[in-house]
């Protein structure tokens, strides 16, 4: 009887705290082997790209996770690199991952490619490889 009770308590904690730990552990394991950048997409008047400028190490495979936290679509383009996969549109609430090899040194622009607001043309940022 006592064993049953203990088992039930363990099950309850597994279902709650265990689930949360499992989710974050899985997420961490996916990030291995890449240099990861978290990029938030918002229309310029709501905060623009965040961070707008960031630096990645030269020669490294970089993963950018673009999170659209808004209620309109955005896009992403970085003409100086071969990004995989190409993105047409990041829908509202969606997250898209792109990967590229940072094989050039210098500072390069990136843009939003979807008409997201009247300020759309100002939705751009800079990435520095060094």
């Amino acid at each position: 009887m006592k064993k049953n009770e203990l088992f039930a308590v363990v099950l309850m904690f597994l279902a709650t705290i265990g689930t949360v730990i499992g989710i974050f552990a899985y997420e961490k394991s996916r990030a291995k082997g890449y240099y990861t950048v978290e990029l938030t997409a918002r229309a310029p008047l709501n905060g623009n790209w965040y961070p707008r400028k960031f630096t990645v190490p030269f020669g490294q495979e970089v993963r950018i996770r673009i999170r659209n936290i808004e209620t309109v679509s955005h896009g992403f383009a970085m003409p100086d690199f071969n990004i995989e996969p190409a993105i047409n549109e990041i829908k509202a609430g969606e997250v898209k991952e792109i990967k590229f090899l940072a094989d050039k040194k210098g500072t390069f622009p990136f843009f939003c490619t979807v008409w997201c607001s009247n300020e759309h043309l100002h939705m751009s940022g800079e990435i520095t490889v060094e």
């Binding site: 949360v20 679509s73 509202a92 609430g93």
Partner: protein, 634 residues
């Protein structure tokens, strides 16, 4: 007392006249000449201008879509064609309108929080389905009148549709594996733990999803698309409080009160264990709380964080109530979704009942009430040994565990039997079969109307009102007033009027108007279940495909657990949907008519009064169903 009966020729005249009228409908529905029709449709969050497009069958329809703010789409239900427009760029679409009826056109590109509900209507006349729907309602009404007007005496035994006796029971614990399951302390603990797991993910996703659009969020989609639809279409109509059985929210409270999770601990609540006030021991708190929670429907059905706050608040309140009050006071008198589940559970096919009342009579002390080492005394504060209505039974199956004689049973019973059941003890603390249940049934219809018009209607300004774009009389305050007027004045008022007419027509002297009102309000239970089911079809068919996305990527972290993350939004069965909605509505009416005449017999003392008093209610049911068919397809 003699009853005036119409001669047979009059019946024949009515039937012939009805057939004549219906042939006129057919002439009205003859096709007209095809034409080329062009529409310029402007889209902005969350409406189209024009929001209603009318064409004739066979027309070649061309649409130019212009967006006034963000990227919007245009998808036509039933036709499956779509286009989209970025601001400054037009979208174009042309198709031949070869299917007739009313079709929703809806946004196909996530454009904001209310994106799934950005809808306009395309009418392709002749709208045969609307005509057929009205025809169906009238036909059902006529059949009901023909059957009931011929009755010469009150029914001795109540039978569902005149076939299945209402007292028919099938004891399901005959199946030994089921009996073993229901008697096990692991049941329903294991389903509860499973839902604990699901709701942990929902809460986390709601928290992480923040204020983004809800259609790619696990929390919003599971709760408001999957859970709500399952609840309204399967659990409540078929199994009653099936959700309450496996709801994870009271688990912590139970644990605190009992000191044990699955084993039997304290029978008396740890904590204050206070008794809920007598005056509030009915459905009134739940009627008000559910209505109040619909004030915020424009937020928590679309915004992940609002879903998080709502669920978090419910969990917290459940724990606090468990600390102060006894047993499942929270479930009985506070949980907002408990009220309609309780009332509608009376319609369901299942119920926990005692097998042999003689055994219960002799059994002292009643372990199903006070508990023993095998289980707890009824946490829902019912008296299981004499229970005959489902309203306050949470299907926790403790009484099956505590009964030393195996005298408690899970039975299969005819639809709606409990609606007729009187509580045997009248000195009981619960006010059963009273205005609280009547108002629960009535407000559910009103809330359905508000929800349908805002979330499946073509009216953009309603959506602005519900989401509190402005706060004044033409904004949020206006929505609250409209909701109050519909739920508490218009709909109860309409039933009250017809109940009054019914009393008048019956020429009964003794019967109280309140009893007429309460008795006939139970007709609205199957009606409410049917229209909420039809409403749910309008959610699951167009938007169910979001579920495939969110189970693979629950937190929008780019996960692809089941390989379904990249499946785009694909509405299915949108052509079939209106037909099913009409069928479901007519199905509800069928039950309402059958129940209605039975309630009339119960309300009035003799057959003459019952037949006369039934006519106004029959007319009422016909009118509201024509209205519902119009809401869905007209």
């Amino acid at each position: 007392m003699s009853v005036y009966r119409l001669p047979f020729t009059v019946y024949r005249k009515i039937v012939v006249g009805f057939l004549f009228l219906s042939s006129i409908f057919f002439f009205l529905s003859s096709p007209s000449f095809a034409a080329e029709r062009f529409f310029e449709v402007k889209a902005k969050k969350f409406s189209y201008t024009p929001n209603i497009i009318k064409v004739n069958k066979g027309d070649k329809v061309s649409i130019r879509l212009i967006s006034e703010d963000v990227h919007h789409g245009f998808f036509v239900d039933g036709y499956g064609v779509k286009t989209s427009a970025h601001p400054g760029m037009e979208g174009a679409l042309s198709f031949t309108a070869d299917k007739s009826g009313r079709f929703s056109f809806r946004c196909s590109v996530t454009c904001g929080s209310l994106h799934p509900y950005m809808i306009g209507y395309l009418y392709v006349s002749p709208n045969n389905l609307w005509v057929w729907g009205v025809f169906g309602v009238l036909a059902l009404g006529l059949i009901s009148w023909l059957i009931t007007s011929k009755k010469k005496q009150k029914d001795e035994k109540l039978k569902l549709f005149g076939i299945i006796p209402l007292e028919w029971r099938f004891p399901l614990t005959k199946f030994k594996p089921l009996r073993a399951l229901l008697k096990s302390r692991w049941f329903p603990f294991l389903p509860i733990v499973f839902n604990l797991f699901i709701f942990t993910i929902i809460l986390l996703a709601g928290f992480i999803g923040g204020l983004g659009a809800g259609n790619y969020n696990f929390g919003v989609m599971i709760v408001w698309i999957l859970w709500w639809v399952l609840l309204m279409m399967f659990m409540v109509p078929l199994i009653g409080r099936f959700w309450c059985m496996m709801c994870p929210f009271p688990l912590i409270g139970d644990w605190i009160q009992r000191g044990k999770l699955i084993n039997v601990g304290k029978q008396k609540s740890w904590g204050l264990g206070k008794r809920w006030p007598n005056k509030l021991r009915n459905l009134w708190p739940l009627v008000i709380l559910f209505w109040v929670s619909t004030w915020f429907s424009g937020f928590f059905t679309v915004k992940p964080f609002a879903t998080f706050i709502l669920l978090g608040a419910i969990i917290l309140i459940a724990i606090i109530i468990a600390l102060f009050f006894e047993k499942r006071t929270f479930c009985l008198f506070v949980c907002p979704v408990s009220g309609f589940q309780g009332l509608y559970a009376n319609f369901s096919l299942f119920g926990v009942r005692s097998r042999d009342p003689e055994i219960c009579k002799k059994h002292v002390p009643k372990t199903c009430v006070v508990g023993n080492e095998k289980g707890y005394g009824c946490p829902w504060m019912e008296l299981p040994y004499e229970m005959n209505r489902n309203t306050y039974c949470g299907l926790c199956f403790e009484c099956l565990k505590t009964c030393p004689y195996d005298n408690m049973d899970l039975v299969l019973k005819p639809f709606g039997q409990d609606l007729f059941a009187e509580r045997r003890r009248t000195d009981d603390v619960y006010n059963r079969r009273s205005t609280d249940e009547a108002y629960k049934a009535l407000t559910m219809i009103g809330i359905f109307l508000s929800f349908f018009l805002a979330f499946q209607g073509p009216y953009g300004h309603l959506r602005d009102m519900v989401t509190a774009k402005t706060f004044g009389l033409h904004g949020y305050l206006g929505y609250l007033l409209e909701s109050f007027t519909i739920d508490f004045l218009l709909i109860p008022g309409s039933l009250f009027l017809f109940a009054w007419l019914s009393k008048l027509a019956s020429r009964s002297k003794e019967v109280k108007l309140k009893d007429v009102f309460v008795n006939f309000s139970y007709c609205l239970v199957p009606v409410g279940i049917a229209i909420w089911g039809a409403f749910s079809l309008g959610i699951i068919f167009p938007n169910g495909s979001y579920l495939l996305h969110i189970i693979s990527d629950p937190f929008s972290w780019g996960w692809n657990l089941f390989g379904t993350a990249s499946i785009p939004w694909t509405p299915f069965f949108t052509g079939l949907m209106p037909y099913l909605q009409v069928l479901v509505t007519l199905g509800g009416m069928l039950f309402a008519l059958d129940f209605g005449y039975k309630f009339s017999q119960r309300t009035y003392k003799d057959i003459g009064e019952a037949k006369r008093g039934w006519i106004p209610i029959l007319i009422y049911l016909i009118l509201i169903h024509i209205f519902f068919v119009r809401i869905f397809v007209g």
